[in-house]
Symmetry: C2
Subunit: 140 residues, 2 copies
Amino acid sequence: MPRENKLRNTGCPIAFALDTFGDRWSLVIIRDMLIKGFQTYGEFLEGDENISTNILADRLQELEALGIISKQRDPDNGRRVLYRLTEKGADLAPIMLEIICWSRKYDGNTKVQDRIVERIEKDRHGFAAELKKRALDTDK
Amino acid sequence: MPRENKLRNTGCPIAFALDTFGDRWSLVIIRDMLIKGFQTYGEFLEGDENISTNILADRLQELEALGIISKQRDPDNGRRVLYRLTEKGADLAPIMLEIICWSRKYDGNTKVQDRIVERIEKDRHGFAAELKKRALDTDK
């Protein structure tokens, strides 16, 4: 499951974190679940970054193995699988928001929706808590 | 300079951020500058993670090219080079602290000094600001 150059079990928090979500595609998937509310394979596939089917399938499997997401049958459509963030995955919200702020400051090319920026600037802790709550809300 | 699988210039803040510091060694170097105050090649080399000389030299060069660190002669020892975080690099402090919190919560193996944890729990914004200020303080 782990990819190249893993540092797992060194006791270093940076290594542990990057082993979990340091892959850019993994983080894009987590962002899309957290901020855009994506839940299905089709939604990820049609996202802005044009992820390929093989990378998507690989990363979803890896994120599930790492306990970041869980998989369940859609109660309204038994043939469809829904992906949900676990608490461990939803707890990545504050990291995600800090990354968005930093990239927006230093990359003129970065596109972030105004409503997201406003929420972060106004109250990033509250916004992170709201994203986490929404991600874990099983009634949505 | 960029390594495998870069997504640069897609406008995605996650991609931009991971292209800059998503490599685990780069982030370990930034952490050691930010939190431990490391400034010299020798200090990095003797750090806890046993970075190899070729990886260290490569990452320092890359971080300089990306504007995260700058290099200068030590005024007290003209033969020694000092590495300093730029503002762009020091602004990674909040991301770093959120990563430390998350890893500590979800990795039983993660080692973080108690004094760091206490500061983060008490006032993470203030602590991030202090780390940034210290990193940019040219008098240290």
